[in-house]
């Protein structure tokens, strides 16, 4: 069948979500279907322009398409007889006042129409429940090329991978590194959304005198490089603001047997991160500094990584099953 995968596009930005959409398109082809990825430009700011962007998705004409898989807002609002909404990212509506109700109503309407609806993470499922009053099944996104995340001996750095921007808060982790043991290093790798995002991190490193401890790879890193960074790390940190991240780094780290540090206000835990498999810190510099120190000194870090891995594997998430679930 002809399958269109719809994802939102932040123009000139590239990260895990974009890689995932491309991988899903290929996996649908591997399953014997024709697949095409359509990326719809979307900007969260200004909020007043969100309704028109929702209408853009709602009115899209997909001639010659047998099934549509929508991965993110607003693209998954598209109208088609055979739509699968796979909510892997939804916008944080907490501070959107006037527009939030329109977004929730659009979600409720689209979910009511779609033959298949899934949430990509437990936090997203809860958010849809709270805002739209719907309970949808969980379908965690498989790891892209899981064989790359073979793991390895516990290294001496915390890996921070993903798009470089304010919402991902890499600058907060740099600030928090100040108060940690000097033998803990930090590797930050990913493409900056804007030159100002790269500058912010470079200035933070210089301001705190961390040039010999923070290694910045501010560019689009290859999948192989990214996996190598994960495999050789001591642990992984992912602390994006809610609604701003595709949580693949958590499942990738778990696949590699690495524990994950996140924050109470992030939504990337994936049901994997807990006290046995990682750390959940308050989202301020001092708390993060304290948690980074604990992580750097944790004697049972390999066991924690093993718990994370076992927890992820217990979901039984593999590509062929996932593709079958998404299609009519």
């Amino acid at each position: 069948m002809n399958v269109v995968i719809i994802d939102s596009m932040s123009p000139f930005c590239w990260g895990a979500a974009e890689e995932f959409a491309r991988a899903l398109t290929q996996e649908v082809r591997n399953a014997g279907h024709a697949a095409e990825l359509i990326r719809v430009p979307f900007k969260l700011e200004p909020h007043a322009r969100i309704p028109s962007q929702m209408l853009l998705a709602r009115t899209m004409e997909l001639y010659g398409t047998d099934c549509v898989i929508g991965l993110s807002f607003p693209g998954y609002l598209v109208r088609h007889a055979e739509t699968t909404i796979w909510a892997t990212r939804t916008p944080p509506t907490g501070e959107m006042s006037g527009v939030a109700d329109a977004i929730h109503a659009a979600h409720a309407e689209a979910i009511g129409e779609a033959p298949r609806v899934f949430a990509g993470a437990p936090d997203l499922r809860l958010r849809l429940q709270a805002t739209c009053g719907v309970d949808v099944p969980l379908l965690p996104p498989p790891v892209v090329a899981p064989e790359r995340f073979a793991g390895g001996p516990s290294g001496d750095y915390v890996y921070v991978g993903g798009r470089i921007n304010v919402a991902h808060r890499q600058h907060l982790l740099i600030e928090a590194l100040r108060g940690t043991p000097p033998d803990l290093r930090m590797v930050i790798a990913g493409a900056p959304d804007d030159p100002s995002d790269a500058l912010r991190l470079r200035e933070a490193v210089a301001k705190h005198g961390l040039e010999d401890r923070v290694h910045l790879h501010l560019r689009r890193v290859s999948a192989t490089e990214h996996a190598a960074f994960v495999n050789a790390s001591r642990f992984v940190a992912s602390i994006p603001e809610e609604g701003h991240c595709f949580a693949s780094l958590t499942s990738e780290a778990a696949t590699a047997g690495k524990p994950v540090l996140t924050t109470t206000d992030s939504d990337v835990g994936m049901g994997i991160v807990s006290d046995e498999s990682g750390w959940i810190s308050a989202p301020d510099s001092e708390s993060l500094s304290h948690t980074l120190t604990i992580a750097s000194r944790e004697p049972e870090i390999d066991a924690m990584g093993a718990v994370a891995r076992a927890r992820w594997l217990s979901f039984g998430t593999i590509w062929p099953d996932t593709v079958r679930a998404l299609l009519p």
Partner: protein, 344 residues
């Protein structure tokens, strides 16, 4: 510079329009620009055209320094630094309105729709910093219907250095999508009028199984199976170069095409003349009869005679092939010129 290349697609339909965008993406990146291709679905169905056109007005590409818009309705995307490389109108509302090809009634409802389309197109076109077209035909239509001047910027082929000339064989080659308006059937009929041993080879993918089947039946019924080959398949760019290298000449005779078409240009790069017809539209901006190709009436007997001429007067055929290659330079068809104009 951050450049958004904006165009529209019909999902699962490939072809020259997409290839063109991807080639432009490649040359822009080679120049060091940060490029994002924005492909959005669009159909020509007039029942939903209003909502489709309005939707493009809601697209926000502020993070781009410049947007270059190609296939409609991409020209409607608002931006402070918009450049259009406009390739065609919704022709059934424009030059085909007073023809049998309108495809809808000339009534109050559709005339109102036509007015809306004109007004919306006018607004989108006038917002642009610069307007380019892919042919003089399209430039003329822009001026006539929208009062907008569009500079002709002929689209080059991808990596023209791939094409080469080995020999002038016995075969006239028609490489193009196999569709009724490309009129492969007319050329098959023309073969019945030939007196020389000239051969014809049709290669290309058809989106219309009915038309492809009718071509096969036509060839068999005319007893031409030993002289006319038909391959209903996709042709890679590399294979095209190899096929053109040894053919006698190329053929390209679409009905009223908007531009000269890649088949014409590809043949010229391989030093091969193109056979076309007087009603092929933009192809005639490239081909001049007897100079760098053959132009006949859209009549099978006239086409048959031209096929014989190409076969029997090979000296002239070779000369016309050389002139076709020179025509590329005369028209300024090159990626360096394209970049110079689009980024000015």
């Amino acid at each position: 510079m951050r450049i958004a290349l904006c165009s529209t697609i019909v999902p699962f339909i490939g072809g020259g329009g997409r290839a063109f965008v991807e080639w432009l993406d490649e040359v822009l990146r080679a120049e060091g620009h940060d490029v994002e291709i924005v492909y959005l679905p669009q159909t020509g169905a007039h029942q939903t055209i209003v909502q489709q056109m309005e939707a493009f007005r809601w697209i926000n590409l502020d993070s781009a320094d410049r947007i270059i818009c190609i296939r409609p309705q991409a020209h409607l995307i608002p931006h402070r630094n918009k450049v259009l490389w406009f390739i065609h109108h919704l022709r059934q509302f424009y030059d085909l309105w007073d023809t049998p090809y309108r495809g809808m009634p000339d009534d109050e409802e559709h005339r109102a729709l036509r007015e809306y389309i004109f007004a919306t197109d006018d607004a989108g076109l006038r917002e642009a910093k610069s307007v380019f077209t892919n042919s003089r035909v399209v430039s003329d239509r822009l001026l006539q219907f929208n009062g907008v001047f569009g500079e002709t910027l002929f689209p080059p082929v991808h990596q023209p250095e791939r094409f080469y000339c080995s020999s002038y064989g016995d075969e006239v080659l028609y490489i193009a999508r196999v569709e009724h308006h490309k009129r492969q059937h007319l050329l098959v009929e023309a073969m019945q009028y030939t007196k020389s041993p000239v051969r014809l080879r049709l290669v290309g993918l058809s989106s219309d199984p009915g038309y492809a089947a009718s071509l096969s039946q036509q060839i068999a019924a005319a007893g031409l199976a030993d002289r006319v080959g038909f391959e209903n398949r996709w042709v890679s760019e590399d294979e095209k170069a190899d096929l053109l290298a040894d053919c006698l000449a190329a053929a390209y005779l679409p009905l009223d095409e908007d531009s000269y078409g890649y088949p014409t240009l590809e043949a010229a790069h391989a030093r091969k003349p193109t056979l076309t017809t007087s009603d092929s539209g933009g192809v005639l901006e490239f081909v001049t009869d007897g100079v760098n190709g053959r132009v006949t009436a859209p009549d099978p007997a006239a086409l048959g005679a031209a096929l014989d001429d190409l076969f029997q007067d090979r000296v002239h055929t070779k000369e016309m092939g050389g002139a076709a290659e020179s025509r590329i330079t005369e028209l300024g068809v090159s990626w360096s010129h394209v970049l110079e104009r689009l980024l000015a």
